[in-house]
């Protein structure tokens, strides 16, 4: 299949178009169509994974079509070890989130149209290899997200939607400037990300630093890096469950992916120059996120802040600038997507029953909802990096990577490791342990809910036991990245 990637990117959009043709009263058909399209997308991504040559560091399945030849904008898509895992993650969470929409009852048709656009945007961001194309997909995500939070969200949905939108918008505009600037700075002028990879490192140091900071700012908002993270708790909390899953699982990865795809290979001098600051930010993220999460009273907000904390590992891995750290960083992105995606699904399960997310309303669920307790425990354990579950591998590699470069930072971050444990154990204690708070007993998770979590748990266990499952895909690409930076 020569146009595999184009199919992957635009297939969801096609689904959206199709959904827009279905009369709005046929809700079940709309849902079915959306799910079907996401299943097929996942299927195609599966095919991609099997066809992918994991021994090669090169970009594969490259497609290049001139788009605006006047200024050298091309439609270039391709996949390599860095993006493959994230594409898979997107397709998987996309399907799960499309399935987890029982709570969406208002304007189902619009919901799924926007959702499908969102999918296209996300997949495109990971696959685009032209800076302008990358930017376009990046921005495409914004508006659907704004609506998904703003229309289907919780109490303070509007505030959250605006905040999310403007934070990200400001960031991405800075990126746009950087993209145009880099176009004019490299000779020959080009937006082709692969060509810039070989051209940009020759830029003079000041330009490298400025451009690095501009790109980083944009990615920092998305990742999010302290102090640009305050949109995240609001957006995550107010968004409906499936959207939170996508937000935490995929959207945050876009920023981190950008870091790996653009900041690391393009600006080796700047990366070297800022590596320590980056590492400090990572450690701050790690500790700050865990601490801020610890005192929240809202279950979802705790998970949201824990995402901030986890993204600290990603930053640490990047700051390490060695293959261990970068491998850890990328793996942590994947793992975080899986784990936090699962966490948000679990919060959603509880919210559907309790209609509140206040921690005080829960407790003792271990006895009344044993299946729920099982899933939540596994996800929480994976979150704080219990060895044997996937979270550990990424965290360990990141910490190891940063240790090799900045030992003291690793020591600092290890404080964060303890805090994260405290955080998730507290969650377990407050939600699962203790006497049941409410006289009403909520029904345990049903089959439909468990089926969503099973793949996530299996991946968590699988990657934890045998991380090569993921690492084998990314190793070559990371090696290349290390050689470049």
């Amino acid at each position: 299949m020569p146009n595999l990637l184009t199919i992957i990117i635009f297939f969801p959009l096609l689904g959206g178009l199709l959904i827009s043709l279905i009369p709005r009263r046929n809700e079940s058909i709309i849902r079915l169509t959306a799910v079907l399209f996401n299943v097929m997308t996942l299927g195609v991504v599966g095919v991609l994974c099997t066809l992918f040559d994991r021994t090669s560091s090169a970009v594969q399945f490259l497609e290049s079509v001139p788009w605006i030849p006047d200024i050298g904008i091309n439609y270039i898509v391709g996949v390599d070890g860095i993006s493959l895992g994230l594409v898979f993650l997107t397709a998987l969470l996309g399907l799960l989130a499309a399935l987890a929409t029982t709570s969406i009852t208002k304007s189902v048709k619009e919901y799924f149209i926007l959702y499908q656009i969102l999918m296209t945007g996300m997949l495109g961001t990971f696959l685009a290899l032209d800076l302008v194309l990358f930017y376009i997909f990046w921005e495409t995500v914004l508006i659907p997200m704004f609506f998904l939070i703003g229309i289907w969200g919780g109490q303070r949905r509007e505030y959250a939607a605006w905040k999310f939108f403007f934070y990200t918008l400001a960031g991405s505009f800075v990126m746009l400037l950087a993209i145009i600037a880099i176009y004019f700075l490299v000779t020959p002028h080009t937006f082709n990300m692969l060509e810039i990879t070989s051209l940009a490192p020759h830029l003079n140091n000041n330009f490298q630093c400025v451009l690095f900071l501009m790109f980083f700012l944009s990615f920092a908002v998305k990742i999010p890096v302290f102090p640009f993270h305050t949109w995240l708790p609001d957006a995550h909390v107010e968004a409906p469950t499936p959207v939170s899953v996508i937000l935490a699982g995929v959207l945050l990865k876009m920023g981190a992916y950008g870091l790996l795809r653009i900041c690391v290979p393009y600006f080796p001098y700047a990366l070297d120059y800022f590596a320590f600051s980056l590492g400090v930010l990572g450690a701050v993220n790690l500790i700050y996120g865990a601490c801020a999460a610890f005192v929240q009273t809202d279950f979802k907000k705790m998970i949201a802040y824990s995402s901030v904390s986890h993204m600290g590992f990603v930053l640490l891995g990047v700051a390490a600038m060695n293959s261990t750290g970068l491998n850890g960083s990328l793996l942590e992105m994947f793992n975080h997507g899986i784990i936090t995606g699962g966490m948000f699904l679990l919060v959603g399960v509880l919210y559907d029953r309790a209609h509140t997310r206040e921690m005080t309303a829960f407790g003792g669920l271990s006895s009344t909802m044993p299946r729920y307790a099982f899933f939540l425990t596994i996800m929480a354990l994976a979150s704080f990096g219990l060895p044997g579950l996937s979270g550990f591998v990424g965290e360990f590699l990141s910490i190891a990577g940063i240790y090799f470069t900045f030992p003291w930072l690793a020591a600092l971050s290890s404080i964060g490791l303890i805090m994260v444990v405290a955080l998730f154990l507290t969650i377990i204690r407050k939600v699962l342990w203790g006497r049941p708070q409410s006289a009403v007993h909520w029904p345990d998770m049903g089959f439909d809910e468990m089926i969503l979590l099973c793949p996530l748990v299996l991946i968590t266990l699988g990657v934890g036991f045998y991380p090569e499952i993921i690492l084998q895909f990314q190793r070559q690409a990371i090696n290349l990245l290390v050689r470049m930076s």
Binding site: V295, F374, P387, L425, R429, W433
Partner: protein
Amino acid sequence: MVKYVYLIPIFPFLAFWLNILLGKQLGRLSAWIAIGASLLSTILTFGIFFGMVTANVHNYTCSLGSWISINGQTLSLGILVDNLTLMMLSVVTVVGTLIQIYSVGYMSTDIRFTRYFAYISLFMASMLALVLVDDLLMLYIFWEGVGLCSCLLIAFWHEKPAAAAAGVKAFITTRIGDTGLLIGILILLASGHSLRFTDLGAVQGSEVLMTVAALLIFLGAMGKSAQFPLHVWLPDAMEGPTAISALIHAATMVAAGVYLVARSYVFFIDHPLALHTIAVIGAISAVMAASIACTANDIKRILAYSTISQLGLMMLALGVGGYVAGTFHLMTHAFFKALLFLGAGSVIHAVHTQDIHQMGGLLHRMKVTGITFIIGALALAGVGPLSGFWSKDEIFIALWQSGHPVLFAVAVLTSFLTAFYMARVIFVAFLGISRRQQQIHESPLVMTIPLIILAFFAVFLGFLGAPWCINGAFQHFISPAMHEVIHMNWGMVILSSILSLTAITLAYLIFVKGFRLPSSGEQYFVCFYKLIENKYYIDEIHEKIFIKPFHQLCSLFKKFDCMYIDGVIHAVATVTAVMASYIRRWQTGRIENYLFYQICGIFILLMVISGKLCRIF
């Protein structure tokens, strides 16, 4: 046979999944699945044990495949079976199996019966794997695994807030140590060393860095083995089911710290500073915990502090080079401490209280439990010729030979205190008159049989290491390089016998005869007593130094988020909005203003063009 060694942890692991996934359907069968699995492991262990001993093989390594590669090193899941491993395997499987059998009775009425056995199977699997693996990182992985099981089992009765809190506390406190261990591993990794235990002896590198690594690894051991100042979780961990306390918090998991030090002993040997630290920490823990145990009233807590103290002794022994002594005491302690806990459990099961002052005269009502408990207590007190006597002797000898008089004195004091508080328990709880009206029955057979078996071990296991009996079989087994003949050190035997007898007598005088100190000494003693009774205020200090600042930091961060970061964001929005509403007012709706703007605009442009303003740009 030894090549099937990897099956040892697999059996309980399968039992775990079976129990956790099919718990409801299995019902009481789950217990027997767990027990069956650990019986299989036990049989396999002993098969391998005898296979290796008869073939005179001391070492077996194999790799089960690579796991991950870091910094150019491929870390693989490897297995190392040597005599230390075999000893630990035997202890864990035997004690584990017995305690599981005991648990069938002890937990019979619990609603989460199957989950209990699931967790315990998981624990067995992790613990056995921990013992088997051949490098530090793999050890770390299972190390965390046992920590998790410990946490889950402590909080098994999570409806009790204290139990839930204790579970969390246990995990976090040990995690502090574990993080140290992790950093220690990273230091070794970063300097390009292999993490395999067999290669640890050949570690080269900057002395300071390697000493730090060794200390950090020991930090991990401190956490697990509840050594001062990370010991605070262990007494609280007594909120868990007593069988768990016996298995995890007395016999096996807490001993993993000692095991870790013993396992990487070749590494510690090269770094004397680290070794000294181990000895000092061990000594502090030993005497501190022993003194607290003298004042505690909760039978389980007494045993918990006793565990800390005994583990301290083991560390102390290891720290002064008494490798054999440390490991020997580890083994004997596992059995008699498990016995004591199970006995305590049996008592609690019967009287529904843990306060020793509410017990009394139990020996008459619960013959088997009473007698086995007393056997255990005597073993712990170091009364010859029970097992504790021999291992404690070894420690004394090691200390004496190392030539550290203070440490030796500490060990003697600890030993004295140990005998004293165990005698106290016996006199208050088991002898004397009953303080309760209710009927007290002996526990069922399923609980008492393990007690009897353990009592058997508590009595006779010591002879393995007794110099006059089979010529110090244990010593030669655990340290195959040693060839000299072990001699009886009669001085030590006499010393420790006198020590324990004096302590018991003292306890008898105080708790049975009601002997009191003269009032002149009382004042001074009360202060001291209060300090000890409050556990030297270590919990409070922890609270002040770590927990409270942490909470304050958290609140601070939360506030920082809401007020400062969001404040800046909102300020930007507000400034824009205010500017907007100001600029909007320029559109006054009056044409004369508009015309004025126009003319002004033209004038300003004129000024710009006449070169006055355009310089700026």
